[in-house]
Symmetry: C2
Subunit: 384 residues, 2 copies
């Protein structure tokens, strides 16, 4: 029997011009802590739209959130947020800024000077400030889920933190904000969303045909519209990728489904150690994971081959290999590497990746918890 809890209270406003509706979502007089990244929102008009909608609020702002948001930067932002009495965190940007905003909202009221270990060890977050998100780069689904992935420079670690109270109260998804993104950002977003679905889909099969069917729809939309987004970046492609990436990781397709996040955990280690784009670590690791686990994943690989790639091949092994090959082709078409050697001239050392996973407590990965350090070394060999 399948059992699950599913609750996603994030209020989503999707479409062109929706940023103006911020003024309906945040009460006048609210002390808003506005968080953003490298400053592109000041060049593409998003910042001006946000500030116009917040004209009746007290806004304190802090930019400079990195791609793969850094713990030490967020700790620093906490000091400013506390001094200014912030009541709500508004994250304006892509998944990194939203992740940072959720983590910041978690630690502002938390009476722990250096809360990394407190939160990493699963101790309660306590009171959390409300969070709102204005998404400008679809990829992570962070705008309506409870997870943040945070990197600590001091600890050389990149790990996920979950806090249900930090799930955004609202998320504004205006596809127009994507117009100024460069090809690499778009490619990375599509590949990230794709792997999110696969990590909730290519696992030990259970009786959830609705979830599996929804996963296949999202994958097909990403396959159909991802290349068009990169080539044309037109309104229709933006809409479809922005919505598909949200649905890819909001809890729905994973409800009641065994999940295997090993590609992400290995990928986080590689990003932390070698500063390679998140999506590009996933595109290198995932095909190798599929091959390494092709027996355990045989049933779902066969379904994936048939329903996502329309592969009409009765032999399960051949169908699986063909589906993996098509996945690699898709990643390559999205400008992403599928071998470690494609991504960096530096050798990616299995010892270092394994050490990161050990320090992060991620030594029993996969939905069967059977991907330990030995298995990770095998996967990295297959990805070499």
């Amino acid at each position: 029997m399948v059992s699950f809890r599913l609750c996603n209270p994030t209020e989503i406003l999707f479409g062109s011009g929706q940023i103006a509706r911020l003024s309906d979502l945040i009460a006048p007089g609210t002390k808003v802590f506005l968080l953003y990244g490298g400053g592109s929102i000041k060049r593409n008009g998003v910042y001006d739209q946000v500030m116009a909608a917040l004209s009746r609020c007290e806004v304190v702002e802090r930019g400079g959130i990195e791609v793969n948001p850094v713990y030490e930067t967020i700790l620093n932002a906490r000091d400013l947020a506390r001094r200014s009495g912030s009541e709500l965190v508004l994250a304006v940007g892509g998944g990194s800024v939203v992740d940072a905003g959720k983590f910041l909202a978690t630690i502002i009221p938390l009476d722990v000077a250096d809360p990394w270990d407190h939160l990493a060890s699963g101790k309660p977050a306590g009171k959390t400030l409300p969070v709102g998100a204005i998404l400008t780069l679809p990829a992570t689904g962070s705008e309506s889920n409870p997870v943040s992935v945070i990197s600590s420079r001091e600890r050389h670690l990149k790990i996920p933190f979950a806090n249900e109270a930090a799930r955004p109260r609202f998320a504004i998804l205006d596809p127009d904000t994507m117009a100024s993104l460069d090809k690499r950002q778009l490619q990375n977003g599509v590949v990230d969303a794709f792997t999110h679905v696969v990590e909730q889909y290519l696992t030990t099969p259970v009786n959830t045909p609705v979830q599996y069917g929804f996963s296949e729809v999202i994958l097909q939309v990403l396959i159909e519209w991802g290349p068009r987004l990169v080539e044309k970046n037109d309104a229709e492609a933006r809409e479809n990728i922005m919505w598909a990436a949200n649905q890819a990781l909001n809890g729905l397709v994973g409800a009641g489904v065994p999940q295997d996040w090993s590609t992400h955990m290995i990928g986080h280690a590689i990003t932390a150690l070698y500063d390679i784009d998140h999506a590009r670590t996933l595109s290198m690791v995932m095909p190798a994971l599929m091959r390494f686990k092709s027996k355990d994943k045989q049933a779902m690989l066969a379904r994936y081959a048939r329903r996502v790639w329309q592969i009409d091949e009765p032999d399960a092994d051949k169908a699986a290999e063909e589906a993996i090959r098509r996945t690699e082709d898709f990643f390559r078409r999205m400008g992403c590497p599928v071998r470690l050697s494609d991504a960096t001239p530096v050798e990616i050392a299995a010892d270092d990746v394994v050490a990161h996973l050990e320090r992060a407590g991620q030594t029993a990965l996969g939905e069967r918890h059977d991907i330990g350090t030995t298995e990770v070394r095998e996967i990295l060999k297959l990805a070499a």
Copy 2:
């Protein structure tokens, strides 16, 4: 450009044994108004499970909610709920009981003696009591949406009322509760859920491939698992139909999509006038509506033919007709009539149906608001 607002805060607990978790959802000491239907929950063990989980609450109960819940019955329940100071309405049953519970929660605090006209004219509901739902018959999706369909005996009307505040705070979906349902209840549930999806899918096409794909998944699950549910009523079929029916009408597949609820509105009139099961009115009206609107719906009918029924027919008219024929076959397989004359020996008078729609203010139906009384007469002729 597609725009929409989507927010579904209902906390869903899905799976066997979840009713016991009621005690986590309702605080001890809460004055609970327990609403149910004809008493089957007292025979199948659900009532005992609920009462055990509510042992620390003050429970006042009222049974007797009808299939197609009656306004006058709910008004009567309001008196009891007010006298007992109820703080939360817990609806235990199928869509009718949940609809009644949501309407009851709306009118308990409403200071209007006879609130039908007040609410029907769109005046605000004001404060609403929190609602919880324990679903025992999948069909309507009412357990996580804001709509109730209520019938007034005095007014000879069956119309929908929407109140966002009445959307259940939580919904427990335990497929085990379906074990004692009879074939006709199961058949009706599958057909009702099927038409919910079609009313949000076979309309003027827009750029929403995620929503359309999800709709097709739900339709395919209903087509595959509906007959098995009726034949075997086994655990897997129960799970899949219960979840598919929920997803069919929780706001997701209709987000940003033009919607055509004319089959439902005509069906409500027929139920109000001739006391025919809700689902069986839909199965009679929907194929006629598809044929009447086959030109306007041509693009989506072609997609429906291809993706839901795997019809490989290049001629759009032939593909549409074949898809409509398969839809009729499916309804028949689910024990439902596809012609008015199959359902009742009494002649269904177009004059009376049209008069009901006029009294309900439903004279510009369909996503283009172009289905008026003349068009309804044509549809009824095609359904004859």
